[in-house]
Structures are given as structure tokens and as C-alpha cells.
């Protein structure tokens, strides 16, 4: 697996306006919302649960050491509205994630929320996410 694990690319992206607030029952007290590193790795576990959906993946740091990242999303209803499902990720998937924020304590923990910040097996996830906020109409069921 280690051969598939990409190097950690830390990019402190200046496009702060592209960072979407993550909806949650708690705020960002433990997270630094000004840092948006991009990390590439291999999914080890995907948890679809309350209060938060989260994704675990392994990535190598700049010293070649494998880090076990955990990235949290919002709750299942919010993620459903964003086009996620319980089956969106599976172990072995390649992901490249630009974090919406990262843990202040330096642990490999982040939060989603950076618009267009998920590349899953080489493609933007969810499809169309890079254009989120443009139109986003829901077809009526009236």
C-alpha cells in the first residue's frame, strides 16, 4: 500500500473565500481555519455516522513516514445534500484532500469544507463540486 501513498503536499492556499463553513454541532475551537494543506493518500476507513461523517486515510509526510489522517465532514443529512452517500469512499481509494481547517495541536486531523477540495481516484468529488454554489436547484417533488 505504501507505494500508492502519495507525498503530503502542504499548500497554504490563500483563497480563504473558497473555504465553506462546515456545519456542525460544534465550531472550530480545536481547528485552525486559516490553514488548508492538501494531503494525498489511500483510504483506510469511511465512517457514515452521527454526529459526524469522517474519513480515515494514510499519507506519507515529508520524511516518508506514514501518517494516519482523519478528516471530518458534517452529519449525514448535510452530506446527503452535498451528494455524498454511505458508499462514497471505500478502503483502497486514492484521495487528495484540501482541508477546510486542521487541528491546532498538529495532529493529522482535518475538516472538509474547502470548496472543490476533494479528488477521489483522480476525479473531483462529488461530481460538480467545483461548481457548488452556482445554481444547485433541487427538482421539485410537488
Amino acid at each position: 500500500m505504501s507505494g500508492k501513498v502519495g507525498a503530503v503536499v502542504v499548500m497554504f492556499v490563500g483563497l480563504f473565500a473558497a473555504c465553506v463553513p462546515l456545519q456542525a454541532h460544534h465550531g472550530n475551537a480545536s481547528f485552525d481555519v486559516s490553514k488548508h494543506p492538501t494531503v494525498k493518500g489511500i483510504v483506510t476507513e469511511y465512517v457514515w455516522a452521527n454526529p459526524h461523517v469522517y474519513l480515515k486515510f494514510d499519507a506519507k509526510d515529508e520524511n516518508g513516514q506514514v501518517q494516519h489522517w482523519v478528516v471530518e465532514a458534517s452529519n449525514p443529512p448535510d452530506q446527503t445534500r452535498q451528494g455524498w452517500t454511505k458508499f462514497s469512499f471505500k478502503p483502497g481509494d486514492e484521495v487528495e484532500i484540501t482541508m477546510g481547517s486542521v487541528a491546532r495541536n498538529g495532529q493529522p486531523i482535518g475538516r472538509f469544507g474547502f470548496r472543490g477540495g476533494i479528488i477521489l481516484n483522480g476525479k473531483p468529488f462529488p461530481p460538480g463540486a467545483e461548481n457548488a454554489g452556482d445554481t444547485g436547484e433541487t427538482v421539485p417533488k410537488q
Partner: protein, 313 residues
Amino acid sequence: MAKCPMLSAIVLLACFFVPAVHAQLNDQPKGVAEELAKRKWNNSPPVKSFYSGQKNHGPAPVRDLSGIWDGTAEGGGQFKGPILHPALYPGSRADDDAGHPDETGVVNPLPFTAAGLEALKKNKPGDGVRAVDVANTNDPVDYGNPSGFPRMLFYELRVIELTQTKNQIIMLDEFDQHWRHIWTDGRPLPDINDVEPRFFGYSVGKWTDDYTFEADTVGVDDKTWLDNVGRPHSYDMSVHEIWHRVDYDKIELTVTVDDPKYYSEKWTGLNKLVLHRLSDDFDMEEFIYNGVETEDYNKSVAGEAARSGKPAK
């Protein structure tokens, strides 16, 4: 409110900032909406822009609130507190503020009494200007308690179903699958000294005209919080709700808190919040904070993020 220009200005200011807090709930990748609309089970409510172009289905039926209603699109999540009283500083981004000892300087501050302020400081929320690390909150909801009333209206007011019987209006809440009932059989409110405290209190209501239903609630257990940012209430609190059926497609909800022990005057948390009617076959998702999953989350994410260590690079 119109009699107080300063208060009106503050409320307007608050309303200006709150939409940013709820941006994500009304932000959806292209194509996702069409996929969601095909679903028969576990539906997701539309984004706000849908409702503005929605076909009007006619006038309000007489004395009827029944149906499935969406508070999500208009900001019912209320993660920073009730829409009119968010625990945010003027001009701040939604997630900039945390760790402050009190709410001094927030937009549209609440009129705490000395006892109210003391109670506020005992509550350690995970959100708002007083937010602490998730692992260090004492939010009852994080420990498996029900959100209670009126927090069910001031937090995660997403999809609800209202149904009416001969003697009750019953509210089914997607969040945590709570329910409450409002008696409409003419009984008076109980003396709170004669009944045991309840998470959701004791509610009675009546139609004040053919399209307006008003309810009062007392007897709420003071272990519950009013909102997601730790605002307290005493056992003496009463809450007044106005549910106004505007037309077939909309209800406007107004909620006012009266708790002289903790607040020097009544305050309104929601003023005509619009709830949009969803289709009759809308199937609510399960949205339940349960002990096992919460413990796993706290162990894997929240606890680790809050653990002391080196600062982020």
C-alpha cells in the same frame, strides 16, 4: 420592535451575518439535486433557491398545520444560537470566534440577569463565541440527553412533521427523532410546582384565528439548554409560539422566551421564520446522535483534535 430603532438595527445586523453561517446548507453541487429528487427514501430537502421559484399551491387551509415542513432552507440549523440572537461578533466570520469568557460584544446580546450570567458561565458550549474544544464541552446533547424545548426550535430545526388529532397538535422532529405534543382540548397550563420537570415541558395551544395557532409551554427541565451556544433557562421559563399558516406552502414561526429569573425582559429568538411545505411523500432521514457513534467520533476525531500537542504547521 419597531418602537426601538436601535434594537431593530441590531436585529438587521444579526440577520445580515447569519446567512454566512448557513451557507453550506444552501450550497449544492450541480447535478446532485436531480439525483436526490429521484429518491423515494431518505429524502433531502431542497436548497433555498428552489422555493423562490416554486409554484404556489393556493391559500392556507383553515385551522390546519398538518404536513411535512422544512426549516433548513431558511437557516433552521442555528448552530450559533437562535437566528435573532447568534453568539457572533459583528463582522466576524462564522468560525472565527471561540474561547471568550462571556458574550460581551455579540450582535443583539441577550438581556441576562446576574443569575442568568452565572448560569451561562457554567455551560461550556462547542459553538459560538464561548466555544471550547469539543472534548471539553458539557453540552447535554453531547452526552445523550435530548435537546429539549425550546432548543428543538432554536437548534437543528430542519424537517418536522406536524399532525393534528382531535385534542393535540403533534410535532415530529427529524433531529434525534424527538416528538412533542401540544394539547388543544382547552386544558390550562399546569402549575409547575405540581408537575415534574420534563425535557420538552407541558404545552397547550389554541387557534386565535383561522390561520394562526398559538401555544404556551412551561415546566421545562432546567438541565436543558436553550440553544447550541449554552444559553441557560430556569425552571420558571415560559415559551410562547405563534404558528401562522401564510398559505398552503408556508408557515411563519415566531418563538418568544419569558424567563425573568435569567433574562430581564422577554426576547424573541425566531420572528416569522418561514417553514416550507415539503411533498407528502417526503421521507425523513434518520438524524440521531447515538451513544456508540458519538463515542467513536469523540475517540477518533474530537478527542484527538483537542489533545494538547505541538501547534499546527
